[in-house]
Symmetry: C2
Subunit: 475 residues, 2 copies
């Protein structure tokens, strides 16, 4: 997407933030009134209001009743910055799509330290259980019926998914579920069912690059909605975006957003549903990390309070069993027929044995046992990552406060170019995910995402130290 | 697609054919001149020319130099007829999409006689070999690397595909190949890479319904090009269609077209390529049955004479190993980057173990050994189907002359309603594929497709007799 596709209000917000940072508007200063700014910038009142909503959301400004907006110290370092030119020292990706693919390839091919990919620890016993179940079921004749599996997928798997969904507050029938080739594929079927070339989809910002790449690859447009690092997507900013644009679907990761790791509180979930109802748009819920909550009871899915079937609940076992299985699912609510049709025409049916194996592991209770262990372990590893980052990274760094999942988001001072950092690390066979990937409009050049799913071996700890040494030269 | 989406020239051809059949124009009669007909029907000269091209193609008329078109006896019973209304006696699919899904489901769920699906015989030794290879490789650690497979798919599989492609006259590198979830999925990635909502794709007529459903499901439009039951798609009709419409891709099954079973001769393949070059459009080659030629050396793929990378070669092992594997591939030529991107965004990567198993079976030479046996066996079973049809079906039936593959196409007199036949058979747990599925414009109501891949057990032979008894009541 070109720069000129960026929302006007995001551009305006960026400009205001830069002014604040450059001291044009010192802390405590009254910012131009909405009306005055609309006039001077030749934009609508709504655009200015949306821009101020971003400033508020990010802690740059506060509204005082009847007196307007005032500059406030930023609660977090701002996440939007202009992209800088840089000298290229080795072959580089030219587009963000190429960079995304390069990051993916790097993770698949490397024997070094992969911190770039949200991949579960495949040394957990579950990986062996999956393999042994493959061995066992490969001989079992019913895994090979007399032809193609039905398009909605293996019934035994859908039964297990429905049984386990109760944990997420979902009471759905196996008949409401369609199996897919992973969560990525579930979301792809949803988008194909809901949109046409050129349609607009609202996403969180920063947003997992696989989803941004999908939106672009399908000829759709992403609108990036400001997202609070603690409570997720801004409903106010989303409301404004809905008012102004014909948004066809909202795509959100309410539980342990990739990359922020935050969870949307129940109250905000309700507002989100109400908003979707008001504008009659569907919500695609990517719940892939829902089962990986560090502490307490598993939070309820957005789908659990879906009043009228407008939430399409998507998930997979890629983060909790093995991504090689490529087993995921979707409960598409009222869009069931359209999604099933998309799956049917795109691939007829899913491979049978991986579905059968997944169902068996769930049925035996081995999946739930694994989760109890995995949640606690990932929590500890996240804490260790924070310790390492505090030890090695520049003091000015900020890190998101993850409540679950496999990844954490780091933000550096503006002088840091995380894409440069990515290439420098890659030369040492150390892989991280540069922030540039998580935006369609050049935001987050100073950010990166690290995964903490693997055991902190000395080699991995040294990799963090190495990243830190580079960072310290960059700040 | 609605009736009014049908090409004008197809409608005009249908009308002329009906006139001939109704005796308005007896054999030997001179048909109206192109100019006169254009005037009386208020259509363009090109439309009339295209309609006459269909009449010629189907043997209804012949052109005599300088004197115009003359009625000729039809070489084959015409394949295009108006759709008739019929009394519905049990719950029925309302749309063709629903009917297609119902046929698919019927095949997956039935313990009866499935003649509706192009499914290989899973009692061949290859099915057991696949299972045993699963057992063996499920323990092999390299089947589970440290994360997701790379988007282009497992290298060992791509190597085997490249090695075997030489048989089809293709000399391609493993790096030119991308693995997919079956041939359906390969074609889906190709269409997504090449088209946008609303674009037009040229297909053979009749055309495998899975492809028509895909085109519709992706919001595209299919133009049905008249197809000769012996030599495949009419290059003349395609030329006319290309002149008149902004066709974005040609989708063809050159080897053992589903449902006709015919093969495009090499000379015509060259014309097809030249035409695609002239209009600069890509050709999607569905070569899924290429390895199942009954007799002689495997014919060369269209891709083997592709001068400039415009052919996207698609295939799978669904018809030659096991459809449950969902392993296919695409060699997308110059569209490699776009197709890879589509695969990446739609599913990240393919499941690993099925790819590994497929590669191993190919590597061991077991696949080629299986093919030698399968080709001869399917040939015999096709011959037996012809015998059974001659014994039980009405004398007025016509059947395509298949040269390979798993299916044959039957055409009945106009009085037969094959969708009605489908529902009547289904009540006896006998499944066939009604002709209606193979057109987007209501053609082929009097046709159906039968698969001959399974052993002719007494039960299956009785099913043919049962179909015959119903047909005899209908003619
Ligand atoms: C938020 C999110 N959604 C979807 C996916 C894709 O998951 P799957 O492997 O199940 O396709 C990922 C994987 O990184 C992810 O982080
Ligand atoms: C002509 C044709 N193309 C594609 C397919 C789909 O094949 P796959 O199972 O490899 O997706 C079929 C299956 O019936 C077919 O007949």
């Amino acid at each position: 997407m070109e720069k000129n596709d960026t929302l006007l209000y995001v551009q305006l917000a960026e400009q205001l933030i830069n002014h604040i940072k450059d001291g044009v508007h010192p802390v405590g200063d009254r910012l131009p009134s909405v009306r005055a700014l609309a006039k001077s910038e030749q934009v609508s009142i709504a655009t200015v209001s949306a821009a101020y909503a971003i400033l508020e959301e990010q802690g740059w400004a506060e509204a005082r009743p009847k007196s307007g907006y005032f500059v406030k110290r930023a609660a977090v370092e701002p996440l939007s910055m202009p992209k800088k030119s840089r000298a290229k020292t080795s072959p580089r990706a030219v587009t963000v799509a190429e960079l995304a693919m390069a990051v993916q390839r790097g993770a698949a091919a490397s024997d070094g330290v992969v911190l770039s990919a949200a991949i579960p620890d495949l040394e957990f016993p579950i990986a062996d259980i999956v393999k042994r179940t493959f061995t066992k079921l490969s001989r079992y004749p019913s895994s090979f019926g007399n032809g193609y599996d039905i398009p909605e997928g293996l019934l035994t798997l859908r039964q297990q998914i429905a049984r386990r969904a109760v944990d997420a507050g979902l009471h759905i029938s196996p008949d409401a579920i369609i199996t897919t080739g992973g969560a990525q594929n579930a979301i792809a079927q949803a988008l194909k069912a809901l949109t046409q070339t050129g349609d607009i989809v609202a996403v969180e910002s920063p947003c997992y690059f696989g989803l941004l790449q999908m939106i672009e690859g399908f000829g759709l447009k992403a609108i990036e909605i400001p997202t609070d690092p603690a409570t997720g997507i801004s409903v106010d900013a989303l409301t404004l975006a809905m008012q102004r644009w014909p948004i066809k679907a909202i795509l959100t990761i309410p539980a342990f957003s990739n990359p922020l790791g935050c969870i949307i509180p129940m109250e905000k979930k309700r507002l989100l549903i109400q908003l979707a109802q008001r504008y009659d748009v569907p919500i695609i819920e990517d719940d892939i990390y829902g089962d990986l909550q560090f502490e307490g009871r598993r939070s309820k899915a957005l789908k659990s309070i879906d009043p009228d079937g407008r939430v399409l609940w998507c998930s997979s076992v890629s983060k909790t069993m093995d991504p090689h299985l490529r087993v995921g699912w979707i409960a598409p609510g009222r869009y069931y027929d359209e999604v099933l049709q998309q799956k049917f025409v795109s691939e007829i049916s899913s491979p049978t044995l991986p579905q059968l194996v997944t169902a068996e592991v769930m049925k035996k209770g081995l999946y739930d046992r694994h989760l109890r262990h995995a949640r606690a372990t990932y929590h500890q590893r996240y804490i260790r990552l924070l310790e390492l980052a505090r030890e090695h990274f520049p003091e000015s760094m900020r890190v998101s406060s993850a409540k679950g999942g496999l990844v954490a988001w780091f933000e550096m001072p503006r002088s840091v170019d995380a894409t440069e950092l990515y290439y420098m690390c890659r030369e040492q066979d150390i892989h991280l995910a540069p922030g540039e990937l998580f935006s369609v409009s050049g935001l987050y050049q100073n950010c990166f995402r690290l995964s903490f799913s693997n055991n902190w071996t000395p080699k991995r700890e040294q990799a963090i130290a190495f990243i830190g040494s580079l960072l310290k030269k960059m700040v």
